[in-house]
């Protein structure tokens, strides 16, 4: 295991790529420009990270070319000035893969996450526009975003800062709203509209690799859309508004398992490989013959773009041009020692350590092939500033607890961050049970919680919002715990599969850095996994049972009282009648007597 250094080697790569984006932002006065870039990075454990990044710029008026009209219309109708929409599936395994790509800023929590700065003069107006935005985006992306209602919306105070350029007057009128749908299954129907927003629509350029079957087969994948206003230069000069643009950054990041992708290509049905193709551990006592203990990571498997994605890149997108900058379409972050064979249709550019880039040509297929590498050559990993995990504690149908473990892996730097929980109203935390402590801290250690912002839930109207700013010293682990009570829902509030449980949105951890003016800015984001909360579920035929039972009781009471009042009771001796029961008995006795007589005759 390599020790992570605070200075990240991959930083140079990110700088380079963001340079292209920055060049776009401050491009010439041209209205619209577009750039796209694919970064491939080998990860330990025969995984490959593929990160697609598309940057489209557009104007604020009604005439659109690169920037998609459908999205611009929605932003205009809902007065949304900045939008971040994330679709994520799976879990980024930070212990194996290291720090998340793009500092975790493009990925959201499991499911769908949306936050936006909406211009409004009051909270009510902001909520109305937020609803408009959700409904419109829901239609555009075929996602259930319209279910983000007031109970799933929070207004974070410390965790998010606008990324775009907003003037101070505009900022005063902006409202930040945040909503999550942890249960939303992200799938192909979300990818198709996502691709439609691109100018080349998956028909040329790197987006031609994106295919739902491969994308959603990945171990972890995330699609994100960030729309921000970007202005050229800082400060308020005259004519400043003319140089402002609406910039949309779309990213698709995924971690592909090389073995799995290649196996799928060979045969659709998963079959165990023949024993002669397996790398066995000879140290096991049962080794040899037909017994094999498979060894992991004995080699870096060979892979190619067309093998992993099912097809090569179909030439470059001709629209992806930034005047004055040579476009780099595909970059591979692979150890320098490992050879890369590129097909015709692309020219190689070496850009620093462990990074080779390719410039594609139009209308010509492009593919890269990496041969088998044995023993494996891993890239130096970067540790994230914080490792986070969260789980439920406790038992029973009534109470429960949450425990989050936050570990600062750095050996020399303390880390400041905001821990944000957005809980549904039916999960009611007790704030007095909230505790945050270091695992092995001396009692004299200062408190790690520095600031708490808490907005309690209102039943059926809004959820709990809990933001905690903390500071964890170097190489220390903090444990955050709190207890909660489970509410009992109404009969109609349960989903169709109530026994599955309710998804609780991931906690959002924003690592902060202090700016010169004393304010904090988010530099890195980590999401925990979502949780599954099981609530006591009723018997769903209950209402009818209750109706029938109470009705029966009432009817019984009524019937007996009524009968007592309106019927006349007479003694049996007074009537002399036998009644039905008596007559039946009489008849039975007669039959018995007759049978007895016959039996006697037979005996005789």
């Amino acid at each position: 295991m390599r020790l992570p250094s605070p200075l990240r080697p991959a930083g140079s790569l990110l700088c380079l790529l963001s340079l292209a984006a920055a060049a776009l932002a401050v491009g010439p006065g041209k209205h619209s420009s577009y750039a796209e870039n694919l970064l491939l990075k080998t990860l330990p454990g025969n995984s490959v990270l593929a990160s697609f990044r598309f940057v489209s710029n557009g104007t604020f008026d009604n005439h659109h070319s690169i920037f998609p009209r459908s999205l611009a219309q929605i932003l205009h109708a809902s007065r949304t000035k900045e939008l971040h929409l994330k679709f994520t599936l799976g879990r980024w395994d930070a212990s194996q893969w290291g720090s998340q790509i793009w500092d975790g800023r493009t990925a959201g929590g499991t499911g769908v996450e949306l936050w936006a700065w909406v211009e409004a003069s009051s909270d009510a107006e902001a909520n109305a526009r937020w609803t408009t935005l959700n409904n419109a985006l829901s239609g555009l992306f075929c996602a259930s975003l319209n279910f983000i209602d007031s109970t799933r919306t929070i207004r974070p105070v410390m965790s998010f800062q606008p990324d775009g350029h907003h003037s101070d007057d505009a900022l005063a009128r902006l409202h930040l709203l945040h909503g999550t749908l942890p249960r939303e299954p992200v799938c192909t129907e979300n990818l198709t509209p996502f691709l439609k927003l691109l100018p080349c629509k998956g028909k040329a350029g790197i987006s031609s690799l994106l295919d739902g079957h491969k994308l959603f087969d990945a171990q972890w994948q995330s699609m994100s859309i960030d729309v921000t206003p970007v202005c050229e230069g800082e400060g308020e000069g005259e004519g400043e508004t003319e140089r402002c643009q609406l910039q949309m950054v779309q990213t698709v990041d995924m971690v592909l398992d090389v073995e799995r992708s290649l196996r799928k290509k060979d045969s659709v049905i998963p079959k165990p490989p023949p024993i002669e193709h397996m790398a066995c551990d000879p140290d096991k006592f049962y080794a040899g013959g037909d017994s094999c203990f498979p060894l992991d990571h004995v080699s870096d498997l060979p892979w190619s773009l067309s093998g992993m994605f099912g097809r090569p890149i179909r030439g470059s997108c001709p629209l992806a041009r930034v005047p004055g900058v040579e476009p780099v379409h595909v970059c591979a972050s692979v150890p320098d020692e490992r050879p890369i064979f590129a097909s015709a249709g692309g020219q190689e550019r070496r850009q620093g350590d462990n990074l080779r880039c390719f410039v594609l040509e139009e209308n010509q297929d492009f593919d890269i092939i990496l041969p088998l590498q044995s023993p494996p050559l891993p890239l130096p990993l970067t540790a994230p500033p914080l490792h986070a995990s969260r789980s439920f504690t406790g038992h029973g149908q009534e109470h429960g607890g949450v425990q989050a473990v936050l570990h600062n892996p750095s050996l020399d730097r303390a880390v400041d961050f905001v821990y944000l929980e957005s809980l549904p109203w039916f999960m009611k935390p007790y704030l007095h049970t909230f505790s945050a402590a270091l695992t092995d801290a001396p009692p004299t250690h200062p408190k790690i919680v520095q600031e708490i912002y808490y907005r309690p839930a209102l039943d059926r109207r809004r959820g709990t919002q809990l933001e905690v700013r903390m500071r964890v010293p170097p190489n220390a682990t903090a444990i955050v715990t709190y207890d909660f009570a489970k509410a009992v829902l109404r009969y109609t509030e349960y989903p169709p599969d109530a026994n599955r449980g309710f998804d609780i949105a991931p906690a959002i951890i924003s690592v902060l850095s202090r700016e010169n003016d004393g304010s904090y800015r988010t530099t890195f984001s980590v999401r925990t996994t979502s949780l599954l909360l099981s609530l006591p579920t009723p018997d769903f035929s209950m209402p009818y049972n209750v109706i029938i039972l109470t009705s029966t009781v009432m009817a019984l009471a009524f019937g007996s009282i009524f009968n007592l009042l309106v019927r006349r009771l007479v003694g049996a001796h007074e009537t002399g009648g036998l009644g039905l029961l008596g007559r039946v008995r009489e008849r039975v006795a007669e039959v018995v007597a007759r049978l007895g007589r016959r039996g006697k005759e037979k005996v005789l």
Partner: protein, 584 residues
């Protein structure tokens, strides 16, 4: 055995009425059944009386408390609606729309204009088969021209009679941007040369299409109208420039539903990545904005535009290769057949939907790829087509003129002019402006009248639908907002009808504006959210909820009441028969 039974302590329960029956015929009962049976002793009259009171009081409680409580808690609120009035509007009986058009006649050099006017008016009235739409001539004097506003009458057109060059026949000329019809009569004018017939013919021709459209609109709304569209075809021979009914139907079917605002989307779909920009903003403001401004009195427009690259045709659309004359491959072209046009729009992939609440009209320029150029639509001079109620499409083959590089990467304003001119014509057709007279103001006036008629008809028919809906679904609730909307619709309809009769079509408080309000309010009433939500209340659900309680309680109540009534009837019969009156 009998002694055994005698030990039984069971009570036989006899109810009051059967007791009474037993009392009346005790001897028969005893003799007809076995001798073991013995009737119970007669009940006291006080007991019988109390029992009746008990049953009566139960029923009083059920009827006076139970039923009203049930009714109040389950009743559906239905605001009162003026059903009769709504029905009469829906049937077209409430308003007989009239479209009187005033025509000013200027004849400075004519010797006897009044006489000519009289003859022309006569000729017009005689030939008119649709009385709701009629022309009225007025001789224009300087005084009337100077103060047209005071009279409040709006002049639909001005007919200017001037002598033409000597020896020429009668002729007329209509400028494209004014309401003045210049009529040049032959200088050798005499009543016998048929000037009056020519004038009448000219006027009829100018307004023929509008008249037909309005008559079609009104006829389609009412089941038994006086001017059936078929009449016009039978009289078609005397009307100049009349269009066949099928033609009118076709024209009407492509008109977009009226809305006070439309959204226009101009889209450039290109099969490749080129051209990457177009000068649509300037082209629209130069070539189209004047028309949109002129249409402002009827509807307003919002405009946006987009470019979509790599737009593929849907798979069902396959152009065929047609080599040029004499098999010349260089002059060959790809041909789209008529059948292909209906599925030309690839709605699965082309992002054409807008989120605006008002209707969108799409205009599309499609640029085929180099491999499929030139792409032409068979039998189309403009290489364009109109999709009814949706928009227009033009296939553009950028070829001649510019150099290769220039041509492919940018579409200039000039290159877009033919397309935008075409779209302007298509827009007018989609909005329903008549095609015939060349004068735009007259056509727009026609459009105003036509739209007023359309709004009148659509608001009335919406009212009719609401009327039928409320009758068909008795379980639907009608909130008071619906009743308010209906009232507002009715008042607007009345106003609109009145304004039509007065000849005030457009402008503030005119027929069009009242019609707009009527249509808006009628739609609002019909699409009231809370009404839609409560339509579904299955009967099985009600049974499941009511039966467990109502059944067990209702049965003893009803049986008790039935027996009590039977007893009373028997007593009453016995009293009438005079037998054993002392029993009660």
């Amino acid at each position: 055995m009998a002694s055994n039974l005698g030990l039984d302590v069971a009570f036989s329960v006899a109810n009051a009425s059967s007791t009474a029956a037993a009392e009346q015929v005790p001897l028969i009962a005893v003799t007809s059944t076995t001798e073991k049976r013995k009737s119970p002793p007669p009940d006291t009259p006080e007991n019988i009386h109390t029992r009746s009171l008990v049953i009566l009081s139960f029923w009083i409680v059920v009827i006076s408390v139970g039923l009203p409580l049930w009714w109040i808690t389950t009743a559906i609120y239905r605001a009162p609606l003026p059903l009769k009035e709504m029905q009469s509007w829906a049937d077209g009986r409430a308003c007989r729309a009239e479209f009187p058009l005033l025509i000013d006649v200027e004849a400075p050099s004519l010797p006897d204009p009044e006489n000519l006017l009289k003859t022309v008016q006569h000729a017009l009235d005689d030939a008119n088969d649709f009385s709701a739409h009629h022309l009225r001539l007025r001789l224009s004097t300087n005084a009337s021209r100077s103060s047209p506003e005071e009279e409040g009458e709006i002049v639909a057109a001005t007919l200017r009679l001037t002598p033409g060059p000597a020896g020429s026949p009668h002729s007329y000329n209509l400028a494209p941007s004014s309401r003045v019809i210049d009529l040049f009569y032959s200088p050798s004018y005499s009543p016998s040369t048929g000037l009056s017939a020519f004038v009448a013919g000219t006027l009829r021709e100018v307004f023929a299409e509008e008249q037909q459209m309005i008559s079609y609109l009104l006829a389609s709304s009412t089941p038994s109208p006086s001017p059936a569209p078929s009449c016009s075809t039978s009289n078609g021979n005397n009307g100049v420039g009349k269009v066949s009914t099928a033609d009118i139907t076709r024209k009407m079917s492509r008109i977009v539903r009226y809305s006070p605002t439309y959204h226009l989307t101009f889209s450039l779909f290109t099969a490749t990545g080129l051209p990457s920009s177009w000068d649509v903003e300037h082209a629209i403001s130069e070539y189209l904005q004047p028309l949109l401004d002129a249409l402002g009195g009827i509807s307003t427009f919002t405009v946006d535009s987009q470019i979509q690259f790599y737009a593929s045709l849907s798979s069902s659309v396959v152009p065929t290769w047609a080599p040029g004359p004499e098999g010349d491959e260089g002059n060959g072209q790809w041909v789209l057949k008529k059948e292909d046009l209906s599925s030309f729009i690839n709605s699965a992939e082309w992002p054409l939907v807008s989120i605006t609440s008002y209707p969108t009209i799409n205009f599309i320029i499609y640029i085929p790829s180099k491999e499929q150029s030139p792409l032409v639509i068979s039998d189309s001079a403009t290489n364009a087509f109109l999709l009814p109620q949706w928009g227009g499409v033009m296939v553009l083959n950028p070829n001649s003129g510019h150099s290769n590089e220039e041509r492919t990467s940018h579409l200039s304003k000039e290159a877009l002019k033919p397309a935008l001119d075409l779209f302007a014509a298509q827009l007018l057709a989609l909005l329903g402006a008549p095609t015939h007279p060349s004068s735009l103001p007259i056509r727009l006036d026609s459009l105003t009248r036509q739209r007023s008629a359309e709004l009148l008809v659509s608001a009335s028919s919406t009212l009719g639908s609401l009327y039928r809906l409320t009758l068909a679904l008795p379980s639907i609730s009608i909130p008071s907002s619906v009743s308010a909307s209906v009232a507002s619709t009715l008042s607007s309809l009345k106003n609109s009808c009145r304004e039509l009769k007065n000849g005030r079509f457009g402008g503030e408080g005119g027929a069009l504006e009242e019609g707009k309000n009527a249509a808006f309010q009628a739609e609002r009433a019909f699409f009231e959210k809370s009404m839609v939500g409560q339509v579904y209340f299955p009967e099985e659900h009600k049974v499941a909820v009511y039966l467990p309680l109502m059944g067990p309680i209702g049965v003893p109540l009803i049986l008790g009441a039935g027996k009590e009534i039977a007893r009373l009837v028997r007593v009453w019969k016995a009293q009438r028969g005079g037998t054993m009156p002392g029993q009660l």
